[in-house]
């Protein structure tokens, strides 16, 4: 039952030493305001890396550069050894292919409301990856069962709880066989129970060897799920390390202030 999701991911987990995503000297400005001021980050394959930090600190922008939803102004990004952008120019020849390898899950799920859950998972398989209809539907049904939503396959998003919608969104991203998954505050629109559901799915993915980059404000969630935590402030990496180190014993003053603030509220 669990074998099909991680097929591609498990192949990459054999080469754990090699980073799935390498970011070097990444810079990005919006209207003259610098959001990322030179980021260097390696994300090893089959790891979960959480990026934490204040709103507007550049963490979402950093993640959106990895699938080129944002085009960096400077710096180099490699995904599975392929340079996708360098010094402000996109070097990735096939954006659609890149986005099949790097899936993304959004804060507000962004499911297609005019389609049922299963059709949400089928759409990009047929129209971006060119998979045949029968295979696409079969895979969609398997993935929905995998995230515990087989019984909701023909329901529309508006009839689903937030946790169910987010799990459909994860299935939709998985359908293209990515090796890296990006999560943009995946639980901040969810109640604690739904957060638990999403957490369970992410843990299973981690076990299957999926590389995941996660932007979050919820420190308990980050501690639960991630191997590595990166604290970003003012467009720079202030501190990074094992989740327990950064969240429980932060070295930098700014990290301490942030952790104290969000540990109290979250």
């Amino acid at each position: 039952m669990t074998q099909h999701i991680g097929n591609v991911a498990r192949e990459t987990s054999a080469i754990v030493a090699k980073p799935a995503v390498t970011i070097h000297g990444l810079k990005k400005s919006f209207d003259g305001r610098q959001v990322l001021g030179g980021i260097d980050l390696d994300v090893p394959a089959a790891r979960i890396v959480s990026i934490i930090g204040q709103s507007g600190g550049g963490k979402t922008t950093l993640m959106r550069c990895v699938n080129l939803l944002e085009q960096p102004d400077d710096g180099v990004i490699e995904v599975n050894g392929e340079t996708i952008c360098a010094r402000g120019a996109v070097t990735c020849k096939d954006l659609a292919k890149l986005r099949q390898r790097v899936g993304m899950v959004f804060q507000r799920f962004n499911l297609f409301p005019h389609l049922t859950a299963v059709e949400n998972v089928v759409l990009a398989q047929m129209h971006a990856a060119g998979i045949g209809e029968r295979e696409a539907v079969e895979r969609a049904v398997r993935l929905l069962q995998r995230v515990g939503l087989g019984h909701r396959a023909t329901a529309y998003p508006e009839r689903m709880s937030g946790g169910e919608q987010q799990r459909v969104a994860i299935a939709r991203a998985l359908a293209l066989g990515p090796t890296v998954l990006l999560f943009d505050e995946p639980t901040s629109a969810l109640d604690p129970e739904s957060t638990g559901e999403v957490l369970r799915v992410m843990r299973e993915l981690a076990r299957d060897g999926m590389t995941m980059i996660l932007v979050t404000h919820e420190l308990p969630f980050a501690r639960e799920v991630s191997d590595w935590v990166v604290f970003i402030d003012g467009g720079k990496i202030i501190e990074q390390g094992a989740a327990t180190d950064v969240l429980d014993r932060p070295r930098e003053a700014r990290t301490r202030a942030y952790v104290a603030k969000y540990a109290a509220s979250g």
Binding site: N67, A96, Q100, F106, F112, E133, V141, G150, L176
Partner: protein, 246 residues
């Protein structure tokens, strides 16, 4: 007394002699309606997309067009097209002139409805499609347009019925549609009240069921019933797989 007078008046119009006039008139009314609506919807969509374009140079002509044709009476457009254009060498048949006038006028209104509908789609939809590797065309066709059509349906339906009624203005260029036939019959029988009441009833008898059907369509789509064959097939397949595999 006068009511009785009206009733006996109905009987004095030899309706059976005019049945074929009314029938052909009705057919022509429907032909004008359908041809104009298809044209106006197509032009309206193009105008809406132009107005949503990033480039001012593309937006401006579409905005100009919409403002002009929304603020000029339909009758003036019909007269300019049919009576005016021949003086600059453009001689159009009654049918073409009539259909073009209706297209010019209704495209302006439909473009406003379409623009609001397309603009009303949350930007997260585009982003999700992009993140899934869908191209611009596919995203528009499979993500934006189906949602926009749902949003545009109520306004578009109102416009369709409005257009059907507006074909009666083509009586001014003797378009041989329903109202022109009515005028003909009235002038032959001198029974204006009876004839125009009957013709009005015929317009009602067509428009009312049409608008009810369109309302039903709105409700059906809103309830999530898949209309396309492809969607039905995929959902059926999914259900079969779930019944067998789970």
């Amino acid at each position: 007394m006068s009511l009785l007078h009206t009733f006996t008046g109905f009987l004095q119009v030899p309706w059976s002699d005019y049945a074929s006039n009314i029938g052909w008139g009705l057919l022509r009314t429907l032909a004008y309606t359908i041809a104009s609506f298809v044209g106006a919807a197509a032009l309206g969509l193009v105008l809406a997309l132009m107005r949503l374009n990033r480039l001012r140079l593309v937006r401006l002509p579409a905005a100009l067009y919409t403002e002009i044709f929304k603020n000029v009476p339909l009758l003036a457009i019909i007269f300019v097209t049919y009576f005016g254009l021949p003086s600059v060498g453009v001689k159009l048949s009654v049918f073409v002139a009539g259909v073009l006038s209706l297209i010019f006028f209704y495209a302006a209104y439909l473009s406003e409805i379409f623009r609001a509908a397309i603009g009303g789609i949350h930007s997260g939809q585009n982003e999700a499609a992009q993140a899934l590797g869908l191209g611009r065309g596919t995203t528009f066709g499979h993500v934006v347009l189906p949602q926009a059509l749902r949003l545009a349906l109520p306004g578009t339906n109102t416009m369709f019925v409005d257009l059907l009624k507006s074909t009666s203005l083509l009586v001014t260029i003797s378009a041989a549609e329903l109202m022109t036939q009515a005028q003909l019959i009235a002038s032959e029988t001198f029974r204006a009240l009876e004839v125009y009441l009957v013709i009005a009833a015929i317009y009602f008898a067509v428009c009312y069921p049409v608008s009810q059907c369109l309302l039903w369509l709105e409700r059906t789509i809103h309830a999530g019933v898949p209309l396309s064959i492809g969607r039905r097939r995929r959902l059926k397949l999914a259900k079969t797989l779930l019944a067998g595999g789970a």
